[in-house]
């Protein structure tokens, strides 16, 4: 007597060769694909079957798909994208921080002395300072940071420049070759005071402070994700 609940088994069911072909063609539903990939990781025969299908199907493409020349723009864009990177790395962005420092300091001094910025009465007793020179992405920014190591805080004064629409400024500490450490977000007004833990204070002498623009709430990854807009080295005042 036949079992009515069991569907008829077709010869292609449970055939790994067919599964491998479906996998090669990208036809497997997500769950089946994941299961197949897991099996493939530990089954050399299955991998060989998939490679064999790829080889066979690639032959069909070689024989049946016509060659079409892409526009010359593709080659040109590739050259730019691969060999002349326009977007510089984080480290390249902060490298020339020293150059604009003098100009930034002058601008800040002008801003303070012309009354644009009034340092708070309880301003920190700074023993480390940094003029954050604007990078090419940060044109117009004038930012200065004063660190009071005995109080354990940094005051960031933004004398000129604002973050791009819908972005916020985030302050980073870069000590030596270590990855940037977030110190916090800059407030909308011109001055922000951020308390610093002891382990961060210990890293500060000679380190670099940098400001990047980030989505509201700060970098989602813990590392700078937006452009570095200004950077400068901390020196004893």
């Amino acid at each position: 007597m036949s079992d009515q609940t069991t569907p008829p088994i077709d010869p292609e069911d449970d055939d790994d060769r067919v599964l491998a072909a479906e996998y090669t063609l990208g036809l497997l539903p997500d769950t089946e694909r994941t299961a197949f990939e897991a099996r493939m990781a530990s089954d050399a025969d299955l991998r060989a079957e998939v490679i064999a299908w790829h080889e066979q199907f690639a032959t069909v493409i070689l024989d049946e798909v016509d060659e079409v020349a892409p526009s010359a723009q593709v080659a040109k864009r590739l050259q730019t994208r691969l060999f002349k990177p326009e977007k510089r790395s984080f480290w390249q962005q902060i490298w020339p921080y020293g150059l604009g420092g003098v100009a930034a300091a002058l601008a800040l001094w002008l801003a303070v002395s012309s009354g644009l910025i009034t340092p708070e009465e309880d301003a920190l007793r700074a023993d480390l300072v940094a003029e954050l020179a604007p990078t090419p992405d940060g044109e117009g920014l004038v930012i200065r940071a004063d660190v009071d190591t005995s109080r354990g805080a940094v005051q960031v004064i933004r004398a000129a420049g604002t973050p791009p629409e819908g972005r916020v400024f985030e302050l980073w500490l870069i000590a030596g070759d270590a990855a940037p450490v977030s110190l916090g977000l800059l407030r909308d007004d011109t001055s922000t005071i951020i308390d610093l833990p002891q382990e961060v204070l210990a890293l500060m002498p000679g380190a670099v402070l940098a400001v990047s623009d980030e989505p509201p709430g700060g970098s989602p990854t813990g590392a700078p994700t937006g452009a570095v807009r200004a950077a400068g080295q901390l020196t004893s005042s």
Binding site: L27, A58, V60, P70, S71
Partner: protein
């Protein structure tokens, strides 16, 4: 040097960061790979975007080519086809309709079977020609055009499970033929 050896050689040099080899590899293979993108995407701008991504991957991943077991053109074609199919699915491009009359299960082998002399036909082509014409068409749609089961179901008006059964039977027949 055979064309395959030439491409293999170029990939090996690209893996070492040789830019002139990269440019020659591009000149040598981009028209075929662009044809693949265009076939799947039917849109020059999208196809060029994918082609560009493919060559960025080739530049970055050429050093992993040796260990993956593919012949060089298959490696390039596989990367390209998969990228183009991913793009097509992300764009949710509707499939090109297939006439129901073309899907009768008893359709005879296509004209290709008689046109191609048996001696110089590739094995896979010969095996596809052994399938009923409509079934071979579905396999080519899945591979060359990147249609999913859902696409093929939409394109034919045939229910998805039936489409899958047809395809699987065709693939099994193809596999049996290939191992003869």
């Amino acid at each position: 040097m055979t064309p395959n050896e030439e491409v293999e050689n170029l990939i090996a040099r690209v893996a070492m960061g040789d830019r002139s080899a990269f440019n020659r590899l591009y000149d040598r293979t981009s028209a075929k790979l662009f044809g693949v993108c265009l076939r799947v995407l039917n849109d020059r701008a999208e196809a060029e975007e994918v082609l560009q991504d493919v060559f960025v991957t080739v530049w970055n991943k050429a050093d992993s080519y040796r260990v993956n077991g593919y012949s060089p053109m298959t490696w390039l074609i596989t990367i390209t086809r998969n990228r183009a199919v991913d793009r097509r699915r992300a764009l949710r491009l509707p499939p090109i309709p297939i006439e129901t009359a073309d899907l009768l299960p008893d359709s005879k082998p296509g004209p290709e079977a008689t046109a191609v002399a048996a001696a110089d036909a590739r094995q896979i082509t010969a095996c596809l020609d052994e399938l009923p014409r409509a079934r071979a068409h579905l396999v080519r749609r899945a591979y060359l055009d990147g249609d999913s089961y859902a696409d093929l179901s939409e394109a034919t008006g045939v229910n998805l499970n039936t489409i899958r059964t047809w395809l699987r039977r065709s693939l099994l027949a193809l596999r049996e033929c290939l191992s003869r």
